[in-house]
């Protein structure tokens, strides 16, 4: 079946679509870590919260598009509140303290959502205009999945220009590579970091909304994706856009094709990819310069 060109093309598109979701989460986590050495495991909780908020907006009669606009903004507002109240206090602390803190936030956040929405999975319907398949190169493919690929690509390009072609991007890259020197040049890294954190949180929120119609909305959806996202960062390398893109693509393809070729051992393929990359390049494939030497 793998030799059937139509099936193959479909699976390639599925891989791309999953890679885009991973990318939306990985880029924020990776740059947040790169800039401040902050290991924020609660990044996935924003993704989950945003998905639930999108479900609520749909419940009160809002369209998917309203959800896509407002749920990530609301989730970002919540995320930044938690950031200023709690996360900020562990800046510069040991990674373990950050793990303890963010795992605590995952536990508490998940329980709050379960209290409000219950334990049963919820669904979010696809926007009407994207329901059903479109014909592409002579075969039918779900329009909604194509939309995710397009959205992901658009955000990739936007982030590329933001990071590589603007002053803010230059400050972020400089901060990731050498924070002390950048600060000595008079840059307020704290402010840059807050901005990066906001953008990263927002992108995680966007991922939550677009993922909801495909994977559903349920307690624990944050942990199941964040582990793949961590692998993306490990494979791609810390702190760089290119690394996050390459890592997302590799894991997106490994996951999709793993499930087809070896359904029993789907996860094993992903870990095999990770193991091979780590043996060859212990710092990942395309890390930011500061992480390349370790």
């Amino acid at each position: 079946m793998i030799t059937d060109p139509q099936f193959l093309a479909e699976q390639i598109l599925n891989s791309l679509q999953f890679a885009m979701l991973l990318f939306l989460l990985a880029i924020g986590l990776s740059v947040i870590f790169g800039l401040m050495d902050y290991l924020n495991l609660a990044h996935g909780t924003v993704y989950m919260t945003s998905a639930y908020l999108a479900y609520s907006i749909a419940q009160i009669g809002g369209s998917f598009w309203l959800s896509l606009i407002f749920a990530p903004i609301a989730a970002t507002a919540l995320g930044m509140t938690v950031y200023f109240l709690l996360l900020k206090r562990a800046e510069g602390a040991d990674h373990l303290v950050q793990v303890l803190l963010t795992v605590g936030i995952i536990y508490a956040g998940t329980d709050i959502l379960r209290l409000i929405y219950g334990d049963l999975p919820k669904g979010l319907s696809q926007p009407d205009i994207l329901k059903g398949p479109v014909t592409l190169f002579g075969f039918a493919y779900p329009a909604y999945r194509l939309f995710i690929i397009g959205l992901g690509l658009a955000i990739m390009v936007a982030l590329y220009f933001l990071l590589e072609r603007t002053k803010l991007g230059a400050l972020v890259r400089a901060g990731v590579d050498d924070r002390e020197t950048t600060e000595t040049m008079g840059v307020n890294i704290g402010a840059v970091f807050t901005l990066v954190f906001t953008i990263g949180t927002y992108l995680a929120g966007v991922a939550g909304v677009v993922a909801a119609p495909i994977f559903g909305v349920y307690p624990g959806m944050d942990v199941s994706i964040i582990i793949l996202v961590l692998i993306v960062i490990v494979v791609g390398g810390l702190g760089s856009l290119k690394g996050a893109i390459l890592g997302s693509l590799l894991i997106g393809f490994a996951d999709t094709f793993g499930k087809i070729l070896l359904p029993q051992l789907a996860m094993v393929i992903i870990y095999a990819v990770m193991a091979i990359v780590l043996v060859a390049r212990p710092t990942g494939l395309l890390p930011a310069r500061r992480f390349a030497g370790r």
Binding site: F33, D37, L39, L86, R89, A90, A93, D94, H95, L96, V97, Q98, V99, L100, L101, V103, G104, I105, I106, Y107, A108, G109, T110, D111, I112, R114, L115, V223, I227, L230, I231, I233, V234, L238, Q264, L265, A266, M267, V268, I270, Y271, M274, A275, L278, V279, P282, T283, R294
Partner: protein, 339 residues
């Protein structure tokens, strides 16, 4: 080394303080266990097993590596023991050896590529490796997948004149085993091997520059840690007589890491105190509070922000400060003598 540089006025050393805390805690635990009812015995056994697991994680932390996937070893030990005893119908004792050997071998195999990384990278890689094992047993038809497998026996100790089927005997046996492992790890920590691990944690680049083989020391620590972690898993399977993928889950890796951080990382005894607190805290919260995961999360947040060094870590830091004050008071006098 320290006595020469700090003069003769000296409060107890950090090691002495750790040992005193350990012996006091062991004594208190023994008294509490003796006077506890049947239900509390189960919690005591739980706490002792989690403590052994925490010791394995904290020993690895001596080399500067903190694993967020230690439940992989725990689950491996449990499934190796259960698989040997139930599926292969081997004697339980050989299942135990198989579990420990499995942990050590997995430690060497996995370690040979994961210990090349460190810091947060290591945290992420170990998490991913453990999830791999989790997803394997979750789907494995051999071990009945997500439903788990019952009928795991306990070790047959009738030749020593007691039986582990009795809850309070089992709890006591776990406590004694935990105590012995703690003492052994304290001894190893004080040995040249432990000193090298300390040096690697403090500055791995310098150890490498001095010709120390950082990779092999870390690999050895990872393998030893894997063996002890697998032992803890095998004990857990005997305690509950049951195998389930939860024994290798992300939550357990988080639990044991959190127990160690609450107690104070790098202190060994801290992991035991943290594990005991965590087990009893979960029990109290889950039986009295409705949405207790929220409370647990809030407590983690509070500990992270208010007590980042952990309980024993904070006590040791106070000793450090007192000693520094004494040294500072002693120093001008020394300088006067010299002039």
């Amino acid at each position: 080394m320290s006595s020469a540089s700090t003069g003769n006025r000296k409060i107890i050393s950090a090691t002495q303080l750790r040992l005193i805390i350990g012996f006091c805690f062991a004594l208190a635990a023994l008294v509490a266990q003796t006077f506890s009812g049947a239900f509390v015995q189960e919690l005591v056994a739980d706490a002792a097993i989690l403590s052994i697991f925490a010791l394995s994680l904290d020993f690895l932390a001596r080399s500067g590596l903190v694993s967020f996937g230690h439940a992989g070893f725990f689950g491996l030990g449990a499934y190796a023991f259960g698989g040997a005893a139930v599926l292969l119908e081997l004697p339980a004792w050989s299942g135990m050896l198989l579990a420990i050997a499995g942990g050590v071998i997995a430690g060497i195999l996995v370690g040979s590529f994961v210990v090349r990384t460190s810091g947060a990278f290591f945290i992420m890689v170990t998490l991913a490796m453990a999830e791999m094992f989790y997803s394997f047993v979750f789907r494995s038809p051999l071990f009945n997948g997500a439903d788990g497998m019952g009928g795991v026996p306990r070790l047959d100790t009738t030749m020593f004149g007691f039986t582990l089927e009795d809850p309070s005997t089992f709890a006591l046996a776990m406590m004694v085993l935990c105590f012995v492992i703690w003492l052994v790890l304290e001894l190893v920590s004080a040995s040249p091997f432990g000193r090298v691990l300390d040096a690697i944690r403090q500055n791995d680049g310098r150890v490498a520059a001095l010709g120390g083989r950082v990779f092999y020391y870390r690999l050895a620590a990872f393998a030893a840690s894997g063996g002890i972690g697998a032992l803890a898993g095998a004990l857990k399977a005997q305690h509950t007589n049951f195998l389930s993928p939860d024994l290798a889950s992300w939550f357990l890796s988080g639990d044991v890491l959190i127990a160690v951080v609450i107690g104070g990382i790098g202190t060994l005894i801290g992991g035991i105190i943290g594990s005991t607190l965590l087990v009893f805290l979960k029990e109290v919260l889950s039986s009295h509070v409705g949405h207790w995961y929220f409370m647990l999360g809030a407590i983690f947040v509070a500990v992270a922000l208010l007590l980042p060094k952990g309980i024993v870590g904070t006590v040791l830091a106070i000793r450090e400060r007192k000693q520094a004050d004494l040294d500072a008071a002693a120093r001008p006098a020394d300088e006067d003598e010299r002039t």
